[in-house]
């Protein structure tokens, strides 16, 4: 197992390297293919009407005068070994992991990412708890009471949940519960360390909004999985043994139905930790997703690289955890 994990970690690192290379390539090569010079690229990061020498200075400071592979190498090297920048009277050391300085504000990127992570983690984790509990419960009940009023109602709701985009449900919930009936007025992120009660209260709407989408997905998945497993031969065997129905459902049915859901859950959570872009934007939460939007709007490479690498990192880690977990859950699967 150790060998397996080591192998997987190495593969994950290679994947991350490839992701950063591709992001780099998209950032630099696509504009170049569209005929843009590195001077024009640099012009985005200088104030209006830059003088040629200002442009040249910026170009040099951002490293655009260097070949692409070298720029990438310095970026990658900075993550593991740190870098030295000059954005002021003295050279400043950008400590490990150094994702560089923003092209726009010339402020280091990593501290801001870390300051935003708690927001995204709070949002994703809270929503995940809600959606796993409600989604699985509704899915199981719907499957067991297939065709009932409950099943039809909850599946109708689930269809709405998966079809309605977050920015619609988010704004609807804001309009209803923050403005019309101000149950949650003046929503602002409050760190849990500062005021746990306010932290939770102000996250209720974002949690529910995000969880609504995922609950709907999970309810549908769970229902489909349960319907499939409950018609399996081994369920009949379990009943033939004389097991009470509750044990049949939970020990035999749910156990199998949840296994694929664990995989999806791991990936969903990994994806969200990389930034719940729409939810964070709609609820004005200062998380990684909002940072990603800012990075892309500003076309700010170090920020884009940091956000992309972080998102890729979370997904890769989630994948690894899921795979290791899967072995524990399904004895038929072995480390390969």
């Amino acid at each position: 197992m150790t060998a397996y994990i080591v192998r997987r970690v190495i593969a994950a690192i290679i994947l991350l390297i490839v992701v950063t290379m591709i992001t780099f390539a998209i950032f630099f090569l696509v504009p170049r293919l569209a005929g843009e010079t590195s001077t024009q690229l640099a012009a985005q990061y200088v104030g209006r009407d830059p003088s040629p020498d200002a442009l040249a200075a910026v170009q040099k400071n951002l490293g655009f005068d260097q070949p692409l592979y070298q720029q990438w190498w310095e970026f990658a090297h900075g993550i593991v070994a740190g870098r030295t920048f000059r954005y002021g009277p003295d050279a400043s050391v950008c400590h490990v992991p150094c994702f560089g300085y923003s092209f726009k504000s010339h402020l280091p990127v990593w501290p801001e990412i870390t300051s935003r992570l708690p927001v995204t983690i709070s949002l994703a984790a809270g929503a995940a708890v809600i959606w796993v509990i409600t989604g699985v419960a509704i899915g199981v009940l719907s499957a067991l009471k297939r065709g009932s009023v409950f099943d039809r109602f909850s599946m109708g709701l689930a269809l709405a949940g998966v079809s309605l985009p977050i920015f619609f449900t988010a704004l609807l919930s804001l309009a209803l519960f923050s403005y019309k009936w101000p149950v949650f007025p003046n929503l602002q992120y409050v760190p849990i360390t500062q005021n746990p009660v306010l932290w939770a209260k102000n996250l209720v709407l974002p949690w529910i909004t995000l969880a609504f989408l995922y609950s709907a997905l999970y309810a549908r998945l769970t229902r489909a999985g349960m319907l499939e497993t409950m018609s399996e031969d081994y369920i009949r065997t379990a009943r033939a043994k004389g097991l009470p129905e509750r044990q049949v459902v939970i020990r035999h049915g749910l156990r199998s139905a949840l296994t694929p859901i664990i995989t999806i859950f791991g990936l969903d959570l990994g994806l969200l930790l990389g930034g719940a872009v729409l939810t964070e934007t709609a609820f004005s939460l200062p998380g990684v997703g909002q940072y990603a939007v800012e990075a892309i709007t500003d076309n700010d490479l170090p920020k884009i690289m940091a956000v992309t690498t972080l998102a890729a990192f979370f997904i890769v880690v989630a994948n690894l955890v899921v795979d290791v977990l899967y072995v524990a859950v399904d004895p038929r699967v072995r480390y390969r």
Binding site: Q40, Y45, G47, P50, D53, G88, S115, Q290
Partner: protein
């Protein structure tokens, strides 16, 4: 050019429109009098101060749907930052704290008076008030002002956001000055500080608007010992009435009273609120709802409420009383290339002037709340504005009126194109408002046989690669180009020079989209800016405006306006014409 911000969350806001509209319209009837004060009337903040108060204490809470380019006074080009930064960064001069046209009046701030010029307007001297202190208690000297200008204008690789007018107008060293971060031996020789309270500027050429130039926050003093370059924004040393107690990039900031600020040295600032807070990246609809609910004191961007909020807010009497439809100081216009056939012919350009139905353009942007129909280059809030209309048509309907149609046809005949012609109109793809105006222009030109196809380009490259690159314009037959413009300082020169002066035409990043290079206009501009007689100079801007319209280089469409919201709790609120938004200097809060 001052940045005309477009909301980053525009798409979101649009999507939200239906939702918020539906919900808020239900809620509006019940609540009623959130207003409470008698002065709450529509547009009350345009000509007068709403809720004048000397109440002290409380918190003034700003929200912003985006982030500022920087809060460092030496590194920003956003109008709202130039307005707001005055709370913690005092420039040599600033604008009078008064509503209406009085707000355009320049007054000394750190300086004891406006500048005295000598050498025919090439040398400007200022003295600063005695007893000025930074928030850390150290005295403010003119050396700190000199340093601030050096760092903000000569180190574009570190502080790249702001304009570089000082770099442009001040005499450079014999070997070009590299800025204080690279050149630690000396400074810029053309700024002299003979003593701690005197500062002297030596310009390359006479420049009568120099008092306006030094109103820029770039002249706010920065102590060299505390300057950390790009990260100075994290620990700005205040020279104003408030100082930062916290700042987090991308999230927000809070300011508290600066104990080392003294009212004796500052006739403009009052220290009303105990605290000022700013939240960045709040969705525009949320900002609006917070304003209406009274949770937020002001929208920092000063660019108006979202379209979705507007519909309900204007139809609700009590909410409408909190709205000011303020002149933003920007002009939306169509630039006509003087180098693309057949628009290189004056009469063809005049045909376009007569044909465009400005009323339909106004309707396309959402009606008169977003702009008044324009007939001059200078908007009414710029000094030098003289109303006239060279190409008047009944009801500003252009070719939609018989007279406009006839006039346009006549010009077309004189141009040798009696049946019209074909050309392109460029617009910024990510600005729906601009596209809507372009479509209205397209529709009215079609009536006189001018067939226009609209070419859309991303706004990020509009000036560097497309409309602002003359070679591109010629190659792609961009006869007409949508454009919006606001001045960096509210004088005719600040507004006109970049868009009308032939000397400013550049291969990339060009703002003179018409490529107007009229010797008469060029010389009028350069002689006016050297004229130190204020009245004569101001009169000259009006003449240049008219000369440009005679050349039919541009078709003014709208003087842009924004719907600004001021909650009942906000005190001392009025629109300053200098920035086209509320004056943030002495806003208080009853909360």
């Amino acid at each position: 050019m001052r940045t005309i911000r477009s909301s980053r969350t525009a798409v979101l806001a649009a999507a939200a429109a239906a939702v918020v509209l539906a919900v808020t319209s239900c809620s509006s009837s019940g609540k009623g009098g959130t207003a409470g004060t008698s002065s709450a009337a529509y547009n009350a903040g345009i000509a007068g101060v709403v809720n004048p108060s000397t109440h002290t204490g409380g918190t003034v809470a700003y929200q912003l749907s985006s982030t500022p380019d920087s809060m460092d006074p030496g590194n920003t080009y956003y109008a709202f930052m130039w307005d707001f930064s005055r709370l913690y960064a005092r420039a040599l001069t600033t604008f009078s704290t008064a509503p209406g046209t009085a707000g355009l009046k320049l007054v000394p701030d750190l300086a004891t008076g406006l500048g005295t010029s000598s050498d025919g307007g090439r040398t400007w001297t200022y003295h600063i008030r005695p007893g000025l202190k930074f928030s850390d208690g150290t005295p403010i000297t003119t050396a700190d002002i000199k340093y601030a200008i050096e760092r903000s204008n000569y180190a574009p690789d570190v502080l790249s956001n702001g304009p570089t007018y000082f770099h442009q107008y001040l005499v450079d060293n014999s070997t070009p000055y590299q800025g204080p971060y690279k050149d630690k031996t000396g400074g810029l020789n053309s700024i002299q500080t003979p003593d701690a309270t005197t500062i002297v500027f030596h310009l390359k050429q006479p420049f009568a608007d120099f008092d306006y130039l030094v109103s820029n926050p770039q002249t706010a003093p920065v102590p060299a010992a505390k300057d950390t370059g790009a990260s100075y924004v994290n620990n700005i040393v205040s020279s104003g009435s408030y100082m930062f107690s916290s700042y987090t990039d991308g999230k927000g900031a809070s300011l508290v009273k600066n104990p080392n600020w003294s009212a004796a040295s500052d006739p403009l600032r009052k220290q009303y609120p105990d605290k000022i807070t700013i939240d960045f990246n709040v969705a525009q609809t949320t900002v609006d709802q917070n304003l209406i609910a009274g949770n937020t004191t002001l929208d920092m961007a000063g660019a108006g409420i979202a379209a979705s909020t507007q519909a309900t807010a204007l139809s609700n009497a009590s909410q409408k009383g909190h709205i000011d439809d303020a002149q933003s100081g920007a002009l939306a216009y169509v630039a006509m290339s003087t180098n693309v056939a057949p628009l290189n012919n004056l009469h063809c350009r005049m045909a376009v002037e007569y044909a465009i139905d400005k009323t339909s353009v106004q309707t396309a942007t959402g009606g008169d709340v977003h702009g008044d129909i324009a007939s001059t280059v200078l908007p009414p809030t710029v000094s030098g504005y003289t109303p006239y209309n060279l190409y008047a048509t009944p009801g500003d309907a252009g070719a939609d009126s018989p007279q406009g149609l006839a006039a346009a046809k006549q010009q077309l005949s004189m141009c040798g194109m009696p049946n019209g012609f074909t050309t392109n109109l460029s617009a910024r793809a990510d600005r729906p408002n601009e596209i809507a105006m372009a479509q209205a222009v397209q529709a009215s030109l079609k009536k006189v046989g001018i067939n226009v196809s609209i070419q859309q380009y991303p706004s990020g490259k509009y000036f560097t690669d497309n409309a602002g690159a003359p070679a591109f314009v010629h190659a792609h037959d961009l006869g007409l180009m949508m454009m919006a413009w606001a001045a960096d300082w509210p004088t005719g020169y600040g507004f006109l020079e970049q868009i009308l002066d032939g000397a400013t035409i550049k291969a990339s990043g060009n703002s003179n989209l018409s490529e107007l290079n009229d010797p008469n206009i060029n010389s009028m501009l350069s002689s006016a800016i050297q004229n130190t007689n204020d009245a004569a100079r101001t009169a000259a801007w009006g003449s240049i405006d008219k000369a440009a319209m005679q050349q039919a280089a541009i078709v003014p469409l709208l003087y842009r306006k924004d719907l600004l919201y001021r909650p009942a709790a906000a005190t001392n609120v009025y629109v300053t014409e200098a920035y086209g938004m509320y004056d943030y200097l002495n806003v208080g809060s009853t909360k």
